[in-house]
Each structure stands twice: as structure tokens, then as C-alpha cells.
């Protein structure tokens, strides 16, 4: 049966190609950014560029200066704070949905989270401008509401869905008998969840960390609206500063010559920064898994455990000391930065320490009540986190609905665009075309890569590099994609400002999401299905596409949701690639255009917040409809699906 073999070969070849696409994309992005950014850095002077504290590029001014240290610090602060808040709340929410919440609410909650994932970042930005910043102004001693705090609050709400969805997926992927086994050993529900299921879902949680840091660092539009925009070194939580992404987005429109090249250099910094972060997180991940493995090996060794206690209390002392010292130097940004990292380390360590301690306490009868209190605390925290998350979401949606609904009309949505009476028709057509282009490219390639990674090459050598490329692509900020699209598709390919340029850039950007979600759901398909199919004489292709893939269809559908959601919410990429043509309905993929999200930014920028809010309402309705359709599809597919 030559044909079957041929089919197998061809399929494998195509899957390999789609998996290799990530590497090609990453290399292309790196190449084009570096080839423009490095010369610029050289011209400015690397040290002056990275550690210069003054950014001054007003066109025409004589004393141009390109120091990005303030923006680098701004980016780090905002990202760290947002990730910490988001991660803490997000994991608790995931645990809450997974085990503690009543069945009836569970579906609703998952829907809400999905919905939150689909909300464009500009909507968050608008919410920030209209609510968060004024509120912070009330408590600020200097009456400035913009700055790190506002941006990280907005961002932490924004990255919640990513964290919750991924953590939840991996919690669900933990075999049921882990949980039941723990229960059978006499552990309480809380103990089983926090001690057995959550650690088993670790890989998913790490994925969540990488993705959410990527999103936080890469976020441009929400940040740009609440950060203030003064390129100065941050010394307070409430003070107008700037981040790398916001700087690029704000200035690339009018910049030219060296000023523009300097912005590309900023893109390089962001790129390198995120890649380094990614590598760092990966090494931590590997180390951690090793550590926990060793720990289980030594678990029975009491003396070892005693040592651990000594060590941890020592650590506490050291941290306290360090904290005191750093407090002394609090005014210096670098020390403050160090303080942030100490905090980060403590938070990370605490979780390990607590787990180890609770393991010890397990053996100690007398400490049982204390342990119970600890788990009760965890449980209450997860309730509280879920409450907070839902509150933020409902508040946000309600606010926008109330603000924008009065301005929504048939004419506003579908009418003809005039200067006095702006409408959304061009944006709607543009958005549809963008979504179409992005899905057509990213879903086939993404699903293909996921299949290759999980079915064909679980342990092959080169796979490491593919995974590295995918992780890196996921971490690259969208504004960097924007720069890349601008240089590569708009410029080099000669597509000029066009929906095609924007759509293709978006497709590359959403690829990692598709791959990851699809792969996670492929991994949940029991191995015995594959064996069953192969034992019937089915070829690898047939097994993969007829048995394994249908089982993962819910995962692919959710990948689709998130892709559409991201394409709809993205505006940073589009600012640089599709030309912000708000008044003309595009007549094809090659014409410039706009999207709904971009329009919100445009209206918001023009001070017409009524139209901006109304556009938000329309966008939310689109997202809601999309979610309804897909949850319906998910149910239909799920009905025939296997039970966990």
C-alpha cells in the first residue's frame, strides 16, 4: 500500500514545515529588527542609548537625545507589578473554578473569563482613562493619577483571562485519580487540590507566567492611555512616566531619520529583553522541576527536613535585613528595582517554603489544626480572588455599556461615514478582513505545528529549537510585531499600508497561542486511543486526524476563540501596518483600512469619548456573539467527547 505510506510521508513533511515556520518567523523578525536597530544604536552610542536618562526627539529641535533608561525602568515596574497581581488572583480563580465553585456558576464563570479574554486592550485603556486614573487622582498626594499603579492595575485585569484559562486547562488535564487518590488517603478537598492537583498542573502554570509577562510587557494601547507619557525616571507609583512600547507607538507616526531608527532600536531592546526573560524563565522551570524531583526523593528523610526548616528561617531573616537596607536607599531607582526582585523572589520562594512546611506539618499530629487553618485560608483566598475578578469584569462591562449604549444607533454602526457623523462601517469591514486573513494562516499552521510537536516529535532533538522559537514568538511584544510588519510587509514587500500587511503580521503574532492551546488539548487525549487506532492497522495520519484530533476539537475551538479575540483586540500592530484609514470602506485586502479597536483609540485620541465608548459597546457585542456561537459549538462537539 504505497499510497498510505506516501500520505504518511507527505503529512509528516507538511506538519514539519508548519512547525518550522515558527523558527523562520522568529529569525526573520530578529534579522530585520537588528539590521536596522543595531546601526542606530551604534550611531547614538550603545551606552548613551541604554543608560541615557534623557529622551528628547522633538522634530526640529537641535538637542536630540535618545536615552531609553527611563522607559526600560517603566516597562519593568509596570510588568512586574501587573504580573504579580494578576498571577496571584488568576491562579486562585482557576482553582476556585476548578474545585470550589458550585457547578451552576462554573459555566457562567468560564464564559465570563472567556469574554474578558476577548475584550480589546483599548477598552481597558478607555476604562483606565475614564475610571481608574480619576479614582487614583483622589488618593494621590500629587494629584497625578497616571503612572505605574494605574497601568499595572489595568494590565493585571487584562492578563487575568490568559492566566486563568491556561491554569484551568492544565488543572483539568491532571488525571482525576490524582485527586481521588489524595482524597482516598484521607486528605481534605482543599489539601488534595492545593497539594496534589495544583503541583501536578505546574507546567501549565509556568506557561501562564510566560504568556502573561509577554502580554504585560508587550501591551501598548492600554498602557499608553494611562501611563502619562513623560519620559522620566520613575520615582513613585503615581507619576507620569513612559514605557518602551508606549514610546514606540506614540512617536513612530511622525518620527523620521535617526529618530525612527532609534525607535526600532527600542524595538530591539524589547525583543532582546523578552527573549532573555524567556530563556531565564525556561531555566528556572527546568531547575524547579529538578528541585521538586529531588525533594520527593528526600521526602522521607527527617533530618533533611529539619535542615530545610533552619534554612528557611534563615532566609526570612536575610530577606528582612535586605528589605531594611533597601528601604534606606529607597530613592534610588536601581535599588528600588532590586527591591522589586527581592520581593519577586520572596513571593516565589514563599510558595515553595509553604508547601514544604505543610508537608512537614502533615506528619505532625499536633500541628494539624494549624494546617487546617492554612488550607482554609487558601480556600477563602480563592473565593475572594474569584469575587475580585468577577467584580472587576462586571464593573468594567457595566461601565462601558452605560457610557456607550446611548450613542449606539443603526446609523452609527452601518451608516455612511461623514466628517460630522463618523460611523463604523469601514472599521467593521476592515476587522472582518483582518480576522479572515489571520485565521486562514494561523489556524492551519498552528494546528499543524501542535500536531507535529505532540504526535510526531515528542522527544526528537530539533524540537527543542522549535519550542524555543514558539515561546519566544509568544513573548515578543505586539508593538515589535508592528515594527516588523512595518519594515517587512509594508516596506520591503511593497504592500504599503494595507489590511494584508496587518493580517499577516497578526497571523504570525497569534500563532504561538494557537499552537499552545491545541497542543495542551492534544496532550489530554489518552494514549490508549492512539494505541487502539494503530492496533486496527490505521496509519499515523489516520490515527492523528480521525481519532486524536477530533478529541481535541474543543481545544482547537478555544484556540480559535482566543485568536479571533486577539485579532479583534489588537491595535498596536495595526497602527503601524494598516494605515488608520477611518473614513473609507476598504475594497480588498490590499487597501488601507481600520479596525474596531483601532477606531476606539482614534476616537479616544480625538477626545470623542462618546463615540469611543459606543464603539466599545459594539465590539463587546461582537465578542459576546462570538463567544455564544463558539460555546454552542463547543457543547455540540463536547457531547460526543470522552469523559475525563
Amino acid at each position: 500500500m504505497m499510497t498510505v505510506k506516501l500520505k504518511d510521508g507527505i503529512a509528516k513533511y507538511f506538519l514539519l514545515c508548519s512547525a518550522a515556520f515558527s523558527i523562520v518567523a522568529l529569525l526573520a523578525i530578529a534579522l530585520f529588527l537588528f539590521s536596522r536597530g543595531i546601526p542606530a544604536m551604534a550611531e547614538i552610542g550603545l551606552f548613551k542609548f541604554l543608560f541615557g536618562t534623557v529622551w528628547h526627539n522633538n522634530p526640529g529641535a537641535t538637542n536630540q537625545s535618545y536615552g531609553v533608561l527611563p522607559m526600560i525602568l517603566g516597562s519593568i515596574y509596570v510588568t512586574a507589578l501587573a504580573t504579580m497581581i494578576g498571577l496571584t488572583i488568576g491562579i486562585f480563580i482557576a482553582v476556585f473554578i476548578f474545585k470550589f465553585c458550585p457547578k451552576k456558576i462554573r459555566g457562567i464563570l468560564e464564559q465570563l473569563i472567556n469574554l474578558l479574554g476577548g475584550i480589546p486592550s483599548v477598552v481597558f485603556g478607555l476604562f483606565g482613562i475614564l475610571v481608574v486614573v480619576p479614582a487614583l487622582r483622589q488618593i494621590s498626594p500629587t494629584f497625578v493619577g497616571e503612572g505605574i499603579l494605574a497601568a499595572s492595575l489595568i494590565l493585571s485585569i487584562m492578563i487575568l483571562p490568559t492566566i486563568v484559562t491556561i491554569s484551568l486547562n492544565s488543572l483539568k488535564a491532571v488525571p482525576r485519580n490524582f485527586y481521588e487518590g489524595a482524597l482516598a488517603l484521607g486528605a481534605t478537598k482543599e489539601q488534595s487540590v492545593f497539594k496534589v492537583v495544583l503541583p501536578a498542573a505546574k507546567s501549565g502554570v509556568y506557561t501562564a507566567v510566560v504568556l502573561s509577562i509577554g502580554r504585560a510587557i508587550g501591551e501598548t494601547m492600554a498602557v499608553i492611555m494611562v501611563i502619562g507619557g513623560s519620559p522620566q525616571i520613575p520615582t513613585s507609583w503615581l507619576q507620569s512616566i513612559d514605557t518602551l512600547t508606549a514610546l514606540i507607538a506614540r512617536n513612530s507616526g511622525e518620527a523620521s531619520g535617526l529618530a525612527f531608527e532609534a525607535l526600532i532600536a527600542c524595538g530591539v531592546v524589547l525583543f532582546v529583553f523578552t527573549i532573555l526573560l524567556n530563556v531565564f524563565l525556561m531555566t528556572v522551570k527546568i531547575k524547579r522541576t529538578n528541585q521538586s524531583y529531588k525533594l520527593t526523593l528526600k521526602r522521607h528523610n527527617e533530618r533533611q527536613a529539619q535542615k530545610l526548616i533552619d534554612h528557611t528561617s534563615f532566609l526570612h531573616l536575610r530577606v528582612a535585613l535586605l528589605y531594611k537596607r533597601t528601604k534606606f536607599f529607597i530613592k534610588y531607582p536601581f535599588v528600588k528595582l532590586g527591591q522589586f526582585f527581592v520581593w519577586l523572589v520572596v513571593v516565589c520562594k514563599l510558595n515553595v517554603i509553604c508547601r514544604q512546611l505543610s508537608e512537614l506539618l502533615d506528619k505532625n499530629w499536633r500541628a494539624e489544626s494549624r494546617q487546617k487553618a492554612w488550607y482554609a485560608f487558601l480556600k477563602v483566598s480563592s473565593f475572594f480572588a474569584a469575587f475580585l475578578g468577577v467584580l472587576a469584569l462586571v464593573g468594567l462591562i457595566l461601565f462601558i455599556l452605560i457610557r456607550g449604549t446611548p450613542y449606539v444607533s443603526w446609523h452609527f454602526v452601518f451608516g455612511k461615514y461623514t466628517l460630522d457623523n463618523p460611523t463604523l462601517t469601514p472599521a467593521i469591514v476592515g476587522t472582518l478582513i483582518l480576522v479572515g486573513i489571520a485565521l486562514c494562516i494561523s489556524i492551519p499552521i498552528g494546528v499543524g505545528s501542535a500536531i507535529f510537536l505532540s504526535e510526531y516529535a515528542r522527544k526528537a532533538k530539533g524540537v527543542k529549537y522549535i519550542r524555543l522559537a514558539i515561546d519566544s514568538l509568544a513573548a515578543i511584544p505586539s508593538i515589535v510585531y508592528g515594527l516588523f510588519g512595518f519594515i517587512f510587509f509594508v516596506g520591503l514587500f511593497g504592500w504599503s499600508y494595507s489590511l494584508l500587511a496587518g493580517g499577516v503580521t497578526l497571523a504570525i503574532m497569534t500563532l504561538p497561542t494557537v499552537i499552545r492551546i491545541t497542543e495542551e488539548s492534544l496532550l489530554t487525549v489518552p494514549h490508549i486511543y492512539r494505541e487502539g487506532s494503530v492496533a486496527l492497522g490505521a496509519s499515523k495520519v489516520r490515527t492523528t486526524f480521525k481519532v486524536v484530533l477530533p478529541c481535541a476539537s474543543v481545544g482547537i475551538a478555544s484556540a480559535l476563540i482566543q485568536t479571533v479575540g486577539r485579532v479583534i483586540s489588537e491595535s498596536a500592530v495595526l497602527i503601524l501596518t494598516i494605515g488608520l484609514m477611518v473614513n473609507i470602506v476598504p475594497d480588498g485586502v490590499m487597501s488601507p483600512g481600520t479596525s474596531l479597536a483601532l477606531n476606539i483609540y482614534y476616537f479616544g485620541n480625538f477626545g470623542s469619548s462618546d463615540q469611543a465608548a459606543a464603539t466599545c459597546v459594539v465590539l463587546l457585542i461582537v465578542v459576546l456573539l462570538l463567544n455564544l456561537v463558539l460555546s454552542f459549538v463547543g457543547k455540540r462537539l463536547g457531547r460526543n467527547n470522552f469523559k475525563y
Binding site: 489518552p526 490508549i528 486496527l536 496509519s539
Partner: protein, 253 residues
């Protein structure tokens, strides 16, 4: 003397550095039931999976030696069409693994794989296989139902029917009844008796009574070796190997 349908010659199997099977020699003749018995981890499943090359799916698993199957020659030799081999050597697993599709689609999966696509051709195959597996009466009105909604015993019989639907010559069963209740077990044992007329069956079991009830020949495994191989009646009434005797009388430490 009946002709041999399977001949295993000096098979060695490694999982990474772990030497799981040490020089196995065995032959199975047509239309007989062979039982593999032995303590856990002694390599029964490993050998079973050699017979249809399911071990290919496991990373780091290497097989040396020859497994000659009638009509194929050495299945580890060159130019073997593995899919066709597996079509002729069916397998039923320890845990029922029906696919998350309708009962009909489950049974029809195999035939469809091998080119039978028309419903009017599939219908008789599906009915026939379900009848042979003794589950037709229970599911005939509801072939569109998802196979996962069935009970464990029913699912296992669906798996057997699914394996039969591609008309294999040999059927490998790895502890097919270990997760089933006595009634389902009895049904499946009866099934084996009936299937014996047309099929050669190799079955792994931890249940000594089961081995005596259904098998013609028995192989006793220990630590990756076959210590005793012969007629089931002889092995259970008069075992030659001391360890084998200890094992079947339940005094094995």
C-alpha cells in the same frame, strides 16, 4: 500436528537499558488459544506487543530477534507493511479504549481504514462483528449512541467487536477482563471459546482459572524469560518447573 501461525525466535527486548525480554522462543499453531501467565512486570505485555509491533510506539524500545507470522515472514524484517500486519493481528487492551464516537463509527473505523467506505457494505460488517462479540442484542437499537456511555464490560466487548471488524487472523488480548465484573468476564470467556473456531488468540491473564478454562496452551513468564511452556492441562496438573508450580498454586513470594 497443526502448522504454526506465529513463531517467535530468540526475541530480546530492551526499554532503554532495561533488558525486559531475554531470548524468547515460542510458537503458536492455528486456531488455538495461548495464555501468558506470570507475576507482574515479567514481560508478558512486552512480548504480546512484539507480535503486532505495538512496541514501535514506545520511545527507546528496541527489539532483536525474529517474529515470523504466517503470510508475512519476519515482521521485524525489511519491507513489512505494518498497517497491514496490524490489520491481520488485532489487539484488545486491558482498559477498554472505545473512541469517543458512536458505536457504529467505532466498529466501522477499522473497515473504513482499509477502504470500505459505503454504508451498505459497512452495515453487515458492523452487525456481524457485534454479534460475534456478543453485544448485538444490547446495542442494536442504538448504534448512533456514543460508545463512551456504555458500561465497562460493554465497552470491552465493543473493543473486541472493533478488533474483529477488520477480520484479523490473530487476536492479542492483554488482560481483557481485568477491569470487569465476573458476569462480563464470563461473557468474554465464552466469546473466546467461540472465536477459537476462526481465530488464533494469545491472551495475557492474571487469573489462573481463566487460563485453565479457556486456553489450550500456557506459557509461564518470569523476569523476561519463559520458564515453562506446554499444554494447559499438563502445566496446571503437573508443572515441571518448581517456580511455575509455586506460582500457580499461589505460593509465590
Amino acid at each position: 500436528m497443526k502448522e504454526n501461525i506465529i513463531e517467535i525466535k530468540d526475541v530480546q527486548l530492551h526499554y532503554g537499558n532495561h533488558h525486559a525480554l531475554k531470548s524468547i522462543n515460542l510458537s503458536v499453531s492455528k486456531c488455538e488459544i495461548l495464555a501468558f501467565i506470570g507475576p507482574s512486570g515479567c514481560g508478558k505485555s512486552s512480548l504480546l506487543r512484539c507480535i503486532n509491533r505495538m512496541n514501535d510506539l514506545i520511545d527507546g524500545c528496541r527489539v532483536r530477534g525474529k517474529v515470523v507470522i504466517e503470510g508475512f515472514g519476519d515482521i521485524y524484517g525489511k519491507g513489512i507493511d505494518i498497517n497491514n500486519l496490524r490489520k491481520n493481528v488485532g489487539m484488545v487492551f486491558q482498559k477498554p479504549n472505545v473512541f469517543p464516537m458512536s458505536i457504529f463509527d467505532n466498529i466501522a473505523f477499522g473497515p473504513r481504514t482499509h477502504g470500505i467506505k459505503k454504508k451498505k457494505d459497512l452495515d453487515p460488517i458492523v452487525e456481524d462483528s457485534l454479534k460475534k462479540a456478543g453485544i448485538w442484542q444490547e446495542v442494536k437499537d442504538d448504534l448512533k449512541k456514543s460508545a463512551i456511555s456504555l458500561s465497562g464490560g460493554q465497552q470491552q466487548r465493543i473493543c473486541i467487536a472493533r478488533a474483529l471488524a477488520v477480520q484479523p487472523k490473530i487476536l492479542l488480548m492483554d488482560e481483557p477482563t481485568s477491569s470487569l465484573d465476573p458476569i462480563s468476564t464470563a461473557i468474554i470467556e465464552d466469546l473466546c471459546e467461540n472465536l477459537k473456531i476462526n481465530y488464533t488468540i494469545v491472551i495475557v491473564t492474571h487469573n489462573m482459572q481463566q487460563a485453565t478454562r479457556i486456553s489450550d496452551k500456557t506459557a509461564f513468564f518470569l523476569n523476561g524469560e519463559i520458564l515453562e511452556f506446554g499444554e494447559t492441562t499438563q502445566i496446571f496438573s503437573n508443572p515441571k518447573n518448581e517456580k511455575c508450580e509455586k506460582y500457580i498454586t499461589g505460593r509465590f513470594g
